[in-house]
């Protein structure tokens, strides 16, 4: 897997949109200073969590929408498989555990005459043990729910592999 790791970046999706990377390159950051979800909502991205973006090959807009939904499915499947938890997919792009958000997905496309670039960004609360007042009732992490330390690289690789498989199936 071709992946590039950043100690800290504003947002891995922003980095991906610079257009420097080939399809299926994965950009991962230990920390994001401006992690965000849809419509500019902030995504709490401290050290310990898993924040990565996958450059998608060129495809049509319907496939991209399907990929967004499938990404949530892939994340939920890996969480269930690896940590024996019961994640719930909040269609189209959130994953919850015990009704609290554990993962957010943001697909972004750059379009001029055609779709020039597509990136799927995934923020997964892995090793985050404490959330601030505003978030503690609505967010959780895999480590809180499973009492385990999570191997970020391993879970990321599994998610990316699963996504590649799904992409092959739909395109």
């Amino acid at each position: 897997m071709n992946y590039i790791e950043f100690e800290k970046t504003d947002s891995t999706n922003n980095e991906a949109k610079k257009g420097k990377y080939k399809p299926w390159t994965v950009l991962v950051a230990k920390e994001q200073t401006q992690g965000r979800g849809k419509l500019g909502e902030k995504w709490f991205s401290p050290n310990g969590g898993l924040y990565f973006s996958i450059i998608l090959p060129k495809t049509n807009i319907n496939d991209l929408q399907t990929m967004t939904i499938l990404a949530a499915f892939c994340v939920a499947k890996i969480i269930k498989q690896e940590y024996d938890l019961e994640p719930l997919i909040k269609i189209p792009n959130d994953v919850l555990i015990n009704n609290k958000k554990v993962c957010g997905i943001l697909t972004e496309n750059i379009i001029d005459k055609e779709i020039k670039l597509s990136v799927i960004g995934i923020g997964l609360n892995t090793n985050i043990n404490k959330f601030n007042k505003e978030l503690k009732n609505i967010a959780t992490s895999i480590s809180i729910e499973s009492n385990k330390k999570i191997n970020n690289k391993k879970i990321m690789e599994k998610i990316v592999l699963e996504l590649k498989e799904q992409f092959k199936l739909i395109t």
Binding site: K38, I61, T68, P92, N109, I110, I111, D112, K113, K116
Partner: protein, 124 residues
Amino acid sequence: MKIRIKNKEYEVEIIDNNQGKIIIKVDNKEFEFSLEENKLKNILPISSVKKQESVKEIKAPLTGTISDIFIKEGEEIKQGKKLLILSAMKMENEILCTHDSKIKKILIEKNQKVKEGDPLIILF
């Protein structure tokens, strides 16, 4: 009619006497011109003299909601400039300008819903 040249206004009247001559009166001074029919035919009507503009539209590539606009009317923009974000099908789509141009008119507002093919921006 009045014509303004360098901040000075002139009252101008054009009279065709139908005898092969045209009289142009400027502030009551008359200037007489003979008509050469063939040349007259080559004179373009005023509407055609106006500089030809190639108007181009940026249209919505898909149905969705305008979540951000990054340009202003009259702004000169380069190819690749981010014009707006169209949130659609649960994805955020950055719409870029396809060529160097100038924004003539913005037809949409933030949070406005648009349908695929709707004109969003008119460029010069």
